[in-house]
Symmetry: C3
Subunit: 137 residues, 3 copies
């Protein structure tokens, strides 16, 4: 049984950047040499989120628009009095910061049209970090 740890780092352009992490995750699975186990990932920071989505331009646009509809920017939030990114925090907490994905026979168990993504919800460019731990054998 092994544990493989790494921090993924990348830059985002702010509101709303959706980064496809799938090939980065697959590289880590390969480097870990773990054949069967779990990849656990979580955002470090409170204005980013992790989920899966079909990484297709139209769906990504729809996703940005539904977030704006559900949690509109600048809708009189109290946190906006100290920093103008209240909506970023709310969206991040609703989508959630963590993802846990199975690895079977050295392969991350995702569908063909399903990608693991980091969603940058903050209002400005950020250097982003995602903690990844792979456990298995």
């Amino acid at each position: 049984m092994e544990v493989y740890s790494e921090i993924l780092e990348f830059d985002t352009k702010g509101e709303i950047t959706i980064v496809d992490l799938t090939s980065m995750f697959e590289d880590l699975v390969s480097k870990s040499k773990i054949k069967n186990g779990v990849l656990s990932a979580n955002v470090i920071g409170s204005t980013g989120a992790l989920t899966t989505i079909e990484y297709e331009t139209r769906v990504l646009t729809d996703f940005k628009q539904i977030l704006e509809k559900l949690v509109p920017k600048g809708a009189g939030y109290k946190h906006d009095l100290i920093d103008s990114n209240a909506h970023s925090h709310l969206r991040a907490s609703l989508i959630g910061p963590s993802l846990s994905l199975s690895i079977h026979n050295s392969r991350l168990q995702l569908g063909t049209w399903q990608q693991a993504v980091f969603i940058c919800l903050d209002v400005r460019s950020r250097h982003r970090r995602v903690a990844v731990t792979i456990i298995g054998q």
Copy 2:
């Protein structure tokens, strides 16, 4: 320390089928012989989601209705131009594809009125797969 891997497979009737996975998960815990550890599950595919809910008819109906209210079907989504299931993708990404549940003393740590569920959000019948990995001792 052991790793137990399995793919759960079942058919869904489309929009919106909520499948109680609890007893399937409990069977896998039992087969794994793991007494203390974690069960990690994730949907394979981008129009399904995992969460927990009280598996009671009225709450399930309420859940379907709140999804339709929050992310209405056919609300002018761009992805609908290529496939009429944009809302399915959006709902799935918001709820999330993965679940990680503790196993203590050979028991999945869920409440009496709390069931682990797969939510099929797609518009048609589908053959569905959920990857499950149990790690522990």
Copy 3:
């Protein structure tokens, strides 16, 4: 490789209590003596949820208000006919019951302004339990 299991227990005041679990999680990481691995936590019960948020008064207030906007209390839900907490169930299932966080070099990988929280969404005071399992070495 080790597994460390514990149930966190605490009381909540009902609608909506947001409990900062970060220091409790850090204590468990410390007690487990696991340096590299994963902390997996899940709510036991169907009217609570786990996520991360900046534990700052204004954001917490904004979060309570956005939940009321998205899933209003008493909006004609069917489950309210048997128990007046349908909205609690719906909010809990949307946010999600589980969280998995990396531990690298004995430290939980969270940002400075990011706390792991339990959100009590039920309408009354409750005794709450969160199952935690730490796996690693």
